[in-house]
């Protein structure tokens, strides 16, 4: 996304929901949101999406083409839904790296996966999507589910993902997007700005984080914009699939 600059010498700003904040502040503010919701993140996902997030993630896995022995990076892996499935798919000869910039989310994800017996072929790394600490051409598949909209420099993050992918490897970006149906869009707006903060207040006692969630979704690039960002970064054969009338879209690009 294009970030705005205020004056020649002022620090560049970026959006945090509907607010403009200095770039250096965004990561800190996003971190605060996720520290606040980490403990009840899964419950909130189920409540707010009516369980649909499981189907969106399922479809993403189907598109990944991951198989036994592959190396997979799940960025912004949160509580490890995708990483757990990938761990099954790659088997003992493969490797899954669950990366998240947020320590609280990573801790919740690690504990949850270890409690479920997911171990051996999985590593947990605290990492910034814009500066991934992995060698070039390292992974067969990189995924980022509901994480890209929180990244300050999305272009830099997509370029970083391209760098760590092997040639022929796939990037999958699962993210909220723009509804394709006007009626659905209106209903979705009403739902996001009325129900989501209320549910956040009732379940996590934090309505602001869920107001940020609704606002950040509106500020995130739409399907075509994100596609062109991936093409500009250097991805080939970029396609996207709308799910639930475009409320969520999964973009896929191949590293040439």
């Amino acid at each position: 996304m294009t970030d705005q600059r205020k004056g020649d010498h002022a620090e560049p700003t970026t959006h945090f929901g509907y607010q403009d904040v200095p770039e250096s502040q965004k990561a800190k503010k996003v971190a605060e949101v996720f520290h606040s919701v980490a403990a009840k993140y899964d419950l909130m996902n189920d409540v707010l999406s009516g369980g649909m997030h499981r189907l969106w993630k399922r479809f993403t896995i189907e598109l990944s083409g991951v198989r036994s022995g592959n190396r997979v990076l799940d960025i912004a892996g949160g509580t490890g839904d995708l990483a757990a499935k990938f761990s099954r798919l790659v088997g003992p000869t493969g490797q899954v790296v669950l990366a998240d910039i947020n320590e609280s989310m990573l801790k919740v994800g690690r504990d949850r996966l270890l409690d479920r017996g997911v171990s051996g072929n999985i590593e947990f790394v605290q990492a910034d999507a814009e500066k991934l600490p992995f060698p070039d051409n390292h992974f067969d598949c990189v995924t980022i589910a509901f994480g890209l909209r929180n990244v300050t420099h999305k272009d830099a993050a997509i370029r970083s993902m391209l760098r760590v992918l092997k040639p022929g490897g796939r990037l999958l970006i699962l993210e909220f997007s723009k509804p394709t149906n006007k009626l659905m869009s209106k209903a979705y707006d009403a739902y996001s700005f009325a129900f989501m903060p209320l549910a956040g207040k009732l379940i996590t006692n934090d309505s602001e984080s869920y107001r940020y969630l609704a606002e950040s979704i509106r500020m995130h690039p739409d399907q075509e914009t994100l596609k062109s960002m991936m093409v500009e970064a250097g991805f080939d054969r970029v396609t996207y699939h709308n799910m639930t009338s475009g409320i969520v879209a999964v973009h896929r690009g191949i590293k040439p």
């Binding site: 649909m52 499981r54 189907l55 399922r58 479809f59 896995i61 189907e62 598109l63 990944s64 083409g65 991951v66 198989r67 036994s68 022995g69 499935k85 099954r88 798919l89 088997g91 799910m243 639930t244």
Partner: protein
């Protein structure tokens, strides 16, 4: 999304059932990494099955290479699922099998050999005493039903064959079939002798 939801539910239920058999999951682990495509041609529907040590993963799409593809109409697939002799169904003309068929046969073998420890599952929910009472009662009823059905089958066949004479008895039918076979062989021999005789007459006329 509807299909994905349906598959997710089926997968969840199926894996719960597989966990009731102590040998199924270790056997499925041997098939880890394999992808089986089931392509139903009528109605058109594709299903991908990925076995591993935690059970089966079902998917409506799969992007990587598959190890085995089974293509057949829905009727044949249902027959395949229910048949004891699956190899016979697999050889029928409407069924196409591509790739490593051993993977598919192994999966069928595991599903066919399932012996579900449903008492263990019931015990988890109800506790040991009610489970023992219910299981004892169900086992008794099941034995009684099995014996009743077997006796009913015997009585019915005896009545139809011996008393009402609606059907021919098994031994009687076998004797009749054996006579028919002997008659068929006799006719074939006679036919051969007549052909030979006709041939002899033709050659003597020419001379």
């Amino acid at each position: 999304m509807l299909l994905a939801g349906l598959l997710a539910s089926v997968e969840h239920g199926l894996n719960r059932v597989l966990r009731l058999d102590s040998t199924a999951l270790p056997r499925l682990a041997a098939l880890e990494g394999k992808v089986i495509e089931i392509d139903c041609v009528q109605p058109a529907l594709k299903l991908f099955v990925l076995p591993d040590e935690e059970g089966l993963m079902l998917a409506a799409h799969w992007e990587s290479e598959v190890d085995c593809t089974l293509r057949a109409p829905a009727g044949r697939l249902a027959q395949l699922a229910l048949a004891k002799d699956k190899t016979a169904v697999l050889h029928s003309p409407q069924v196409e099998l591509h790739g490593d068929s051993a993977v598919l046969l192994d999966l069928f073998g595991i599903l066919q050999d399932l012996e579900l420890d449903w008492e263990h599952e019931l015990q988890r929910w109800l506790g040991p005493v009610p489970t023992a009472l219910i299981a004892g009662h169900l086992r008794l009823r099941a034995r009684w039903t099995r014996q009743g059905l077997a006796r009913f089958g015997e009585n019915l066949s005896e009545y139809l064959a011996e008393e009402s004479r609606t059907l021919v008895g098994k031994r009687e039918a076998e004797a009749a079939f054996s006579e028919l076979d002997a008659l068929k062989v006799d006719i074939e021999r006679l036919e051969a002798r007549l052909r030979r005789l006709a041939h002899t007459l033709d050659t003597s006329d020419n001379a």
